[in-house]
């Protein structure tokens, strides 16, 4: 069933464009049926098997120990429920939001692809298949962010998200492999049982850092957070689904999943907790500076992701419970608010908080949804957001640094409070302001989602028992590897505790800032230039730096100068071959000096003269003649040393070559000296060094003058079996006839080439199908 659940969205994606074309408006509703069914299935499973873990496994690449195995336990079920539940609502919403868009069909494809991938991430039991789905979420996110691909900003944001999460993904790949090596298994269920093994591994620190890089980039932790606000270029359903409710929580999911293994690693608390706290603060602070609804929401999402990371870094049952509850709570209210933002944008074509006012009359249902979600986000009772915030404060309370941490948390929550009121309340109340378009209520497909999500925030707040035992506790148990004991009692009222005090402080501070927001923002905006030094710029610098370097190295390496290419190659040969020769071979000596005869010496001297002429002459004809002389000398050497066939062939070929040279080259210009003397000298040095390497190489064969058994075989069989006295000819046409077959093919092609070069000149004729 799990396999089916993960694969079915992909299957549906294939037919989605067709469905969209056939059904138009109804397509969204129909497509949503699949996640809805899956949701019910998962819910059913969760209710029937609370706090148990089940592994389902199918073979995929057995030779690499990679399986499609799935782990169903509290943690994965909670995420699966969010993915399918919110997914269904978002699909319905998309049908309304993008109604009439020519590429809506493709949009469904991407969205369904993402849904399947995300389910794969949270359900995978095999760390590698988890990684596969992880990368697929990045990729579908890329396509979704760039959905409005005729906008430059969308494309840039898509690329940024892809590169940042992609780079993190690669680190994660290395980390996951190291993890599997350390634990001796690719299956999470087995790794979870072998935490000691992993923690005892010498590469633990590297493993931890690599995995954290993957998780932090995905979950937009500082300093990788910048891609998330930029990703708000995507349509509202995408921001809702990927960039607040599900995908960005994949990193958090991974931290939670690996918590039993790595949570006790020495630097876990420092890295995870520290990074989380920083992100929480930065995200919340930056959220206050924004005026765009989506960007405000995006920065608060960053802050929440920081808080979640922070809690998981802190560890301990309360913190983990806080994190798990917060994951759910945040998905509910943030999902709703993003959809509300989409409705507003859709209705009035503006997302500027400072300009929008009094929308409640025109958009009453959206207003209700916004209010419910906003109050939950603000952490006010009786919403579940309040419970979750209390739980966080409680977790901090137990910690050594509680005062400092509490200050951080209060500051961050204060900012959230402000944003919540801005979006949930302020834009809807008061007298209506002028907007680019006349506001109107959204169609049912577009208010169903936000209203449902926001109402759940209220319901769960009023009756926390609904989720406590069945969803939260099993998930906490999975993260904490605890027996499935009932979680700390979730309730609105805990009595007068320090946590309540902190809540009060938060609300008071938040109210203060809310009232003075316009004033404050104007002041803070003077600091905006500082933003130019932020991580988003680091990304730019790195990218530009890499591209600049790429340009530079390509200009140097691929300079376009053939002599430089040749020189480089020759130097490489000298270094590799000559180096090895010098280093590895002891004896290099030239023997048999005395054994030379006068006529042989004459031939050699003639050759040397010819070479000298060749290198120095300024006349083409002289050079060609000299080359011919060298060739004839070679043919004489062949004659002298028992190779008449070679000699005749060489002689014929040399003659033919000289004729060709003269025929073809007599039209070419005189030789000129192109390069200056230092260049010439350096090149001469390279050439001489190369000659020396060749000489050294040739001495290798001199050491052992062994008779070749193969030659002996040829001599013995040439006449008897191959019926020929001329061994060389027999070799050519019989023993090694295939060589000759290739050889004549080369000749034939050479002739074709000459013919084509001389007769086919497209540059001169009219352009053909494909002339550039």
């Amino acid at each position: 069933m799990t396999l089916l659940a993960v694969l079915s969205p992909f299957a549906l994606a294939i037919v989605a464009p067709w469905l969209q074309r056939r059904l138009d408006r109804a397509a969204g509703w129909l497509l949503a049926a699949l996640p809805a069914v899956l949701f019910i299935g998962f819910l059913n499973f969760a209710l029937r098997h609370p706090a148990e873990s089940h592994v389902f496994s199918w073979p995929w690449i057995p030779s690499l120990q990679i399986q499609l195995s799935f782990l169903l336990d509290g943690l994965s079920l909670l995420f699966a429920l969010m993915i399918t539940g919110i997914g269904a609502l978002v699909l319905i919403y998309s049908g309304g939001y993008l109604a009439g868009h020519p590429h809506l069909g493709r949009f469904y494809v991407y969205l369904l692809m993402f849904m399947g991938s995300m389910l794969g991430v949270v359900l995978s039991n095999n760390v590698l298949s988890l990684f596969v789905f992880w990368e697929l979420t990045s990729f579908s996110s890329y396509l979704l962010i760039g959905f409005y691909h005729d906008r430059q900003a969308s494309r840039a944001a898509a690329l940024q998200a892809l590169l940042v999460t992609g780079a993190g993904g690669l680190a994660l790949l290395a980390g996951v492999i190291l993890l599997a090596f350390a634990g001796g298994s690719w299956e999470l269920s087995e790794l979870l049982a072998r935490g000691d093994l992993v923690r005892g591994h010498p590469l633990l620190h590297a493993t931890l850092v690599l995995i954290l890089l993957g998780a932090f980039t995905k979950s937009a932790q500082f300093p990788f957070h910048f891609w998330l606000p930029a990703a708000m270029e995507a349509p509202a359903p995408v921001s809702t689904y990927l960039h607040s409710a599900t995908m960005v929580k994949a990193g958090v999911y991974l931290l939670a999943r690996l918590h039993p293994i790595l949570g006790a690693a020495p630097r876990w608390q420092l890295y995870v907790g520290g990074c989380g706290a920083l992100t929480m603060l930065v995200g919340a602070g930056l959220a206050l500076l924004q005026v765009d609804i989506k960007r405000q929401l995006a920065y608060t999402t960053v802050s929440v992701l920081g808080a979640l990371t922070f809690l998981l870094g802190l560890g301990g049952e309360t913190a983990v419970t806080g994190a798990i509850l917060y994951v759910l709570v945040h998905s509910l209210y943030k999902g709703a608010l993003f959809l509300v933002g989409g409705n507003v944008d859709h209705a009035v074509d503006s997302r500027d908080v400072t300009r929008l006012r009094g929308l409640r009359r025109a958009m009453p249902i959206t207003f209700v949804a916004a209010l419910l979600a906003g109050l939950s986000m603000a952490g006010l009772p009786p919403f579940v957001g309040f419970i979750s915030k209390e739980l966080i404060y409680e977790a901090l309370h137990a910690h050594d640094l509680s005062l400092l941490l509490a200050a951080v948390a209060v500051a961050a929550n204060g900012c959230m409070f402000v944003v919540a009121l801005l979006i949930g309340v302020r834009i809807f109340v008061g007298p209506p302001a002028a907007t680019p378009r006349e506001p109107h209520e959204a169609p049912p497909s577009m208010w169903l989602g936000p209203l449902a999500l926001a109402s759940l925030g209220l319901i769960f707040g009023l009756v926390p028992g609904l989720i406590e035992g069945r969803l939260i506790a099993p998930a906490v148990a999975a993260v904490g590897q605890l027996p499935a004991t009932p979680a700390p009692h979730l309730a609105l009222w805990h009595g007068f505790t320090p946590m309540l005090l902190l809540s009060a402080v938060t609300i008071a501070a938040g109210l203060l800032v809310f009232l003075g927001w316009d004033f404050l923002r104007a002041r803070l905006n003077r600091l905006a230039p500082l933003g130019r030094l932020g991580p988003a710029r680091w990304y730019e610098w790195v990218l530009q730096g890499v591209l600049g370097f790429a340009h530079l190295q390509t200009r140097i390496l691929q300079s376009g100068s053939l002599p430089v290419y040749i020189a480089t190659l020759i130097v490489v040969i000298i270094l590799l071959v000559g180096g090895t020769l010098l280093e590895q071979v002891q004896i290099v000596r030239l023997a048999n000096w005395n054994d030379i005869r006068f006529h042989e010496l004459c031939i050699i001297l003639t050759m040397m003269m010819a070479i000298l002429t060749l290198v120095t002459t300024n006349s083409r004809l002289t050079a060609i003649a000299a080359l011919g002389v060298v060739g004839y000398c070679v043919s004489l050497i062949f004659v002298l040393f028992g190779a008449p066939d070679l000699a005749i062939t060489q002689f014929c070929i040399e003659t033919l070559s000289v004729v060709l040279f003269v025929l073809v080259l007599y039209k070419l210009p005189r030789f000129q000296v192109f390069s200056r003397w230092p260049t010439r000298l350096a090149e001469a040095a390279i050439a001489v060094a190369f000659g020396l390497v060749v000489i050294g190489l040739m001495t290798l064969g001199m050491e052992s003058d062994l008779g070749s058994p193969i030659s002996e075989f040829y001599a013995a069989n040439s006449y008897l079996q191959a019926h020929g006295r001329n061994i060389v000819n027999v070799i050519l046409v019989d023993f090694r006839g295939v060589d000759t077959m290739g050889e004549i093919t080369v000749l034939a092609i050479g002739a074709l080439g000459v013919l084509a070069l001389l007769k086919l000149r497209l540059d001169r004729d009219r352009p053909g199908k494909e002339s550039s």
Binding site: A167, I177, V546, I573, L576, L700, R736, V738, G742, A748
Partner: protein
């Protein structure tokens, strides 16, 4: 008689294209006839390659002695799994690009030898994969090379000629080194049969001499494979000929170099892997990085792709450098993946060129709106190249990275990962510029002819090979097990030279 069947089968990959070339020359100027000869020939080649792989897979290494002279005296044709896989890939690309040629090669080129040359190119490539004789391999290299020279220059456009000069010169240098290497090796071992040489190496050659000769072969094949710092000829020329030619070059030529490197460095030069294979691994690292940076700097469709060939060659060589069965399996898998994907990307670039008249990324655009199917067909190989799971490229990369981590070559793993992200960057660069972005006003870049509507038959012939290759990519990705298992068996065969030697020279 069954044995004879295999003997014929082993020669088919060479003989079929040769006969094809002969019949094409007989029918000089008769385009339709030459096309038929080519496509029938390539289909037969593919059938033979499939049959060969099946036989080799079922019954082990197969060999035949041409002329019936016993090894090592005659020339051996031999197919182990690795050879058979390569021949099959060659045949697949041959068929795909042949079909694609029909609508993309212009009439003049068609009637000036394109089809015979295509055939002889395939002949040289198959011969190089199948021969068991070092000098014979040189001959097949030359057949392949001169065919590629002529194909590259065919048409005589200025860019083609300039590219050809560099391509020809540097490849001839490589041949010269190869030939000298064969000569010296013969002088110290006294044999040309690769199995025989492998057998005799330890007995007749000291380690120092073996290493020196190994370096010569590293350079000779390294130039053909376009590894750092010997790749200059590739980016200088691959973007100049008609795209069908680029595609078949991109798919097969450098891969013959990689094949040869793997062959000689698993069979003959295994005296001191720490030295030779260590050097290969280091060069592989540089190859990956330099290639991908080169691609990042380019703004022309085919030039980007060309530089990516280099960086991907780095991955393939890396597996050889690691020199373990799993790493070699990674190399083989990478070869399989890369040949399919890279050829396909070039084919897509040709369609883009046909539609908008340029390969420059800046003036291109708007194709995703008009031709979503083409967009999808680009995305599949492009993302596979970048290693996005679960496409074929991911598994190839994964195996190598996994093995690198196991062997603790952390720097090389880092290089591989950086290469991967930069590949992703430049593939999405093409995607953004060609498909996502709207087409800029043509007057800014000079008006190029835009043909948004092509006749249906043209579309079908363009897309048929592209769709087929894209399907291969997806299938290899989703069902990686059979392909990987095959690669692993091939790698294990490669790591066991004794079996190869015995298959050719007999048990003695």
């Amino acid at each position: 008689m069954a044995a004879t069947g295999v003997h014929v089968l082993l020669l088919c990959p060479v003989l079929i294209p040769l006969l094809g070339a002969i019949f094409s020359i007989f029918g000089w100027n008769r385009r339709r006839y030459q096309r038929t000869v080519l496509v029938v020939g390539m289909a037969l080649l593919l059938a033979a390659a499939v049959a060969l792989l099946r036989v080799v897979s079922a019954e082990g290494i197969q060999s035949v002695q041409v002329g019936n002279w016993p090894a090592p005296f005659g020339i051996t044709f031999v197919a182990d799994l690795f050879s058979a896989i390569m021949v099959l890939l060659g045949a697949m690309m041959g068929l795909a690009v042949a079909v694609y040629s029909f609508i993309s090669i212009d009439v003049r080129r068609e009637s000036f030898g394109y089809y015979p040359l295509f055939n002889t190119l395939m002949m040289g490539v198959s011969g190089a994969f199948l021969t068991g004789d070092l000098f014979n391999m040189y001959v097949w290299f030359e057949v392949m090379l001169i065919s590629s020279f002529v194909l590259l220059a065919l048409g005589g456009e200025r860019a083609q000629l300039e590219g050809s000069i560099k391509y020809v010169t540097l490849n001839l240098l490589s041949s010269a080194v190869f030939l000298a290497g064969v000569g010296i090796l013969y002088s110290v071992v006294g044999s040309l049969n690769m199995a025989d040489i492998a057998r005799l190496m330890s007995a007749r050659v000291t380690e120092g001499i073996a290493l020196t000769i190994a370096m010569m072969f590293l350079i000779a094949f390294g130039i053909k494979a376009a590894i750092f710092p010997m790749f200059f000829w590739l980016p200088a020329s691959y973007h100049t000929p008609p795209v069908a030619v680029s595609a078949i070059f991109a798919g097969l030529l450098t891969k013959v170099g990689v094949y040869s490197l793997i062959r000689v460095f698993t069979l003959i030069f295994v005296q001191n892997p720490g030295y030779t294979h260590g050097a290969i691994a280091i060069l592989a690292g540089f190859t990956m990085i330099c290639g991908v940076l080169g691609a990042a700097a380019q703004m022309e469709f085919r030039r980007v792709l060309s530089f990516h060939i280099i960086s991907q060659i780095g991955y393939m060589i890396l597996g050889l450098g690691f020199f373990t069965p799993l790493a070699l399996a990674g190399s083989v898998f990478y070869l399989i993946h890369h040949i399919i994907v890279k050829t396909n990307l070039f084919l897509v670039s040709g369609v883009v060129h046909r539609l908008q008249g340029t390969y420059q990324l800046k003036p291109l655009g708007g194709l995703y709106k008009r031709h979503p199917l083409l967009g999808l067909l680009f995305l599949i190989p492009a993302m596979s190249l970048a290693g996005v799971p679960p496409l074929s490229g991911f598994w190839a990369k994964f195996i190598l990275i996994r093995e690198g981590l196991e062997l603790r070559h952390y720097l090389l793993v880092a290089a591989a990962l950086v290469t991967s992200i930069l590949t992703l960057y430049s593939m999405s660069k093409i995607w953004v510029e060609v498909f996502w972005k709207d087409k800029p006003e043509s007057r800014v870049f000079g008006g190029a002819p835009i043909a948004h509507r092509l006749p249906r038959i043209v579309w079908v012939l363009y897309l048929a090979p592209i769709v087929a290759l894209a399907l291969c990519t997806v299938i290899i990705g989703l069902a990686a097990e059979p392909v990987f298992a095959l690669s692993l068996r091939a790698a294990e065969q490669l790591m066991d030279p004794q079996a190869y030697i015995e298959a050719i020279l007999g048990g003695g």
